[in-house]
């Protein structure tokens, strides 16, 4: 029988099979950020242990740093300065390179790493951050871990891991115009649930996935964790190779041919066995938006909130009712046309150049609705510079958006900047959990184009109608 892509990468990194059947996997890359990497570095040092391969680790400042122009170590988050400075000091002491404030390479770890060529086909890459699965878009085996496992990876360059079950999710056919990778992943989670991928590593495949750009593939893989998958991955192809060419950490000229030959084998065999397979017709996907407090609370833009009274399961019913109350919505209420207070474009899900271009295409020559707060936070300093080079910042500013420095920003509330309680926010981020973007904040997840269209309308809007107008 053949092997899946993940099994192939797994075998290449299997240092040993342990007595209970778990694998000791070699870890090529350990990425850290100041939120959860800080404690891993500190705890490791306190235990008197050293970092095995500092050159294979990298620290990104992204979670706590402010995104205001002229930012320093001082942040609005109480205690944030200590996180930044302790992380920096630990990284320097351990000899680990830092993408720090002011460094042109700085950015959200899952944006900066791919654009530097750190994520590559066939590597094992971990980070104490659940959205590490984003980097599977490059054909890397990349997964999120806790801080203790980060310590383990730093100290031993390995992790003890049990091979997850294998799932393939095939998006077949073509996407409709105005439908994006964000809509694909929201559609998947909406249909199969926030626990739909539990226990499985998911390989995304099919014509609609192959048709996606590398950046869009990152959006798709980003929310694999919201599907409860162990990670997500997409087989590398010619687009992956083109993307990586000339990236600073990519194989050099002398190594390039051998690397290409190596990557050629990185695809699931035709007779590979998957424990589960889901097939979705890409043409069935509409621009998708969430109504509730879990990514599984997702419906087509022309859909409505569900009716809890129709739910036979008491727990499901209660959860739905709770979500509706939190969101200030009623059963059967239409999403399209719902008045909003704010719009946010950013996060490791949707803050890359193509995301900003998609939003700017909607915003060009338009203004956000009166009284609406609109914020755009590029995913990296490189993205910001590239966007400015083609004038996107002017489009965002002219439309009424704030234009920020790169970072995670208001994807989550850490005691600093946030939207106001009960405010309704349409956001390109990945989590609509209760209080995620601030106490009482009501988040609706959507694509950059949907967020831009909604910002202009002042209501949740179908971008296809706006463009047609």
């Amino acid at each position: 029988l053949g092997s899946t892509l993940i099994e192939k990468i797994w075998r290449r990194h299997e240092v040993a099979v342990l007595p209970d059947g778990a694998s000791l996997l070699y870890i090529d890359r350990v990425l850290l950020h100041e939120r959860t990497g800080s404690i891993a570095l500190k705890s490791l040092a306190e235990a008197g242990r050293v970092v095995h391969a500092p050159d294979q680790a990298l620290v990104c400042m992204d979670h706590i740093i402010d995104t205001f122009p002229g930012r320093t170590d001082e942040t609005l988050m109480p205690g944030g300065t200590a996180f930044i400075r302790e992380t920096r000091a630990s990284a320097v002491a351990a000899g680990i390179d830092i993408l720090d404030i002011g460094d042109p390479r700085q950015g959200i770890v899952h944006v900066a790493s791919p654009e530097l060529g750190i994520a590559q086909p066939g590597v094992t890459l971990v980070c104490p951050d659940s959205h590490t699965c984003t980097q599977g878009a490059l054909g890397a085996l990349a997964w999120g871990i806790g801080s203790s496992d980060a310590e383990h990876a730093l100290a031993t360059q390995t992790l003890v891991v049990r091979k997850p079950k294998m799932m393939r999710v095939r998006f077949e056919g073509d996407l409709q115009s105005g439908v994006t990778a964000k809509d694909m992943i929201l559609h998947l989670i909406g249909r199969h649930g926030a626990g739909g991928g539990a226990g499985h590593a998911v390989e995304f495949a099919g014509a609609a996935v192959e048709a996606l750009s590398i950046e869009a593939r990152m959006t798709l893989c980003n929310m694999a964790v919201e599907f409860a998958a162990w990670t997500g991955i997409i087989a590398p192809d010619a687009k992956t190779v083109d993307y990586l060419r000339d990236k600073p950490f990519a194989p050099n000229t002398a190594q390039w041919p051998a690397a290409l030959a190596d990557w050629e084998a990185l695809r699931s065999d035709p007779d590979a066995v998957f424990d589960a397979e889901l097939v979705i017709d890409a043409a069935d996907i509409a621009p998708t938006v969430t109504w509730g407090v879990s990514p599984q609370h997702a419906v087509a833009i022309d859909g409505a909130t569900p009716d809890p009274s129709q739910q036979p399961d008491a727990n499901v019913r209660t959860a739905m009712e709770r979500a509706l109350v939190y969101m200030g919505l009623e059963a059967g209420q239409a999403l399209e046309g719902l008045s909003i207070d704010a719009a946010f474009i950013g996060s490791c899900t949707n803050s890359r150049l193509s995301d900003l271009r998609a939003a700017a295409a909607v915003l060009r020559g338009r203004k956000v609705a009166a009284g609406l707060r609109a914020v755009c936070v590029p995913g990296s300093t490189q993205v910001k510079a590239a966007a400015e080079a083609e004038g996107l910042d002017v489009i965002f500013r002219d439309a009424g958006f704030e234009w920020r420095e790169a970072g995670c920003s208001m994807c989550f509330f850490a005691g600093g900047e946030h939207f106001a309680a009960q405010q309704r926010v349409v956001s390109t981020t990945n989590r609509n959990f209760e209080n995620r973007q601030g106490p009482g904040v009501r988040s609706h997840l959507a694509s950059p184009a949907t967020v831009a269209a909604s910002a202009v309308a002042g209501r949740i809007a179908d971008v296809r109608k706006l463009q047609g107008a």
């Binding site: 209970d20 800080s38 294979q56 806790g146 203790s148 360059q157 390995t158 390039w256 959990f433 209760e434």
Partner: protein, 217 residues
């Protein structure tokens, strides 16, 4: 790491699906680069009616007399989904929780539990529900026994529910082992693998000059 062998304790029911780590420990409650000082922020948004003033919400299960300080939690599927923050486990542990019984767990959270002496037990939804019903029915606190050595949960009615757990996770918890220390014993094997890996794929280990963004090869 603290060992987990056997525990008889009060169980608190928080039967909701998809309780995420943001809910377990809101980001703003992670105030320092530390694994401690987190219990006070556990479930802060649900536990307090006024979070800043720390005014307790009397309806929240951990604020009720019978279940305050419960060492066992009963919950819904996908408990601990979301953010990888190990602070969620540190907060639960510091509060006193030593075992969580749920139909399924977020993968990263489940691993984090085992690294910190906290036992995640997977039992079918119906079994968890039956344990929770017994809990709610009694005004006196429901006592559960969790026995890792025997791999069994004993309900207040004496019913025994066996559970599965990975052998290495079980051993790690029973013995309170240090995972990093164990793996470091294999460092020679790791180094030998590393030499071969570098030879097969040297580009993985190449580094560009520091602080040279965008340099072409």
């Amino acid at each position: 790491m603290e060992k987990f062998v056997r525990l008889t304790a009060v169980a608190a029911s928080l039967i909701r699906a998809n309780i995420d780590t943001d809910a377990i420990i809101p980001s703003r409650e992670m105030k320092a680069v530390a694994k401690t000082g987190l219990a006070d922020g556990l479930f802060a948004d649900w536990r307090y009616s006024d979070v800043a003033g720390r005014v307790e919400n009397p309806d929240f299960v951990l604020n009720k007399t019978a279940t305050r300080g419960a060492q066992i939690l009963l919950s819904g599927p996908n408990f601990g989904c979301g953010s990888s923050r190990e602070h969620a486990v540190w907060a639960l542990h510091e509060y006193g929780v030593r075992a969580i019984i749920a139909p399924s767990f977020g993968a990263i959270f489940q691993g984090n539990c085992v690294r910190n002496g906290l036992l995640p037990i997977v039992l079918p939804e119906a079994v968890v529900a039956s344990l929770a019903v017994q809990d709610q029915a009694n005004s006196a606190p429901a006592m559960l026994t969790v026995d890792l050595a025997e791999q069994v949960v004993v309900g207040p009615d004496g019913a025994r529910h066996g559970f599965a757990i990975e052998p290495s996770d079980r051993l790690m918890l029973l013995e309170g082992l240090d995972a990093v220390g164990l793996t470091l014993q294999r460092l020679a094997v790791i180094r030998a693998f590393e030499v071969d890996h570098k030879q097969a794929r040297p580009w993985l280990f190449a580094r560009p000059a520091a602080h040279s963004p965008g340099t072409t090869r």
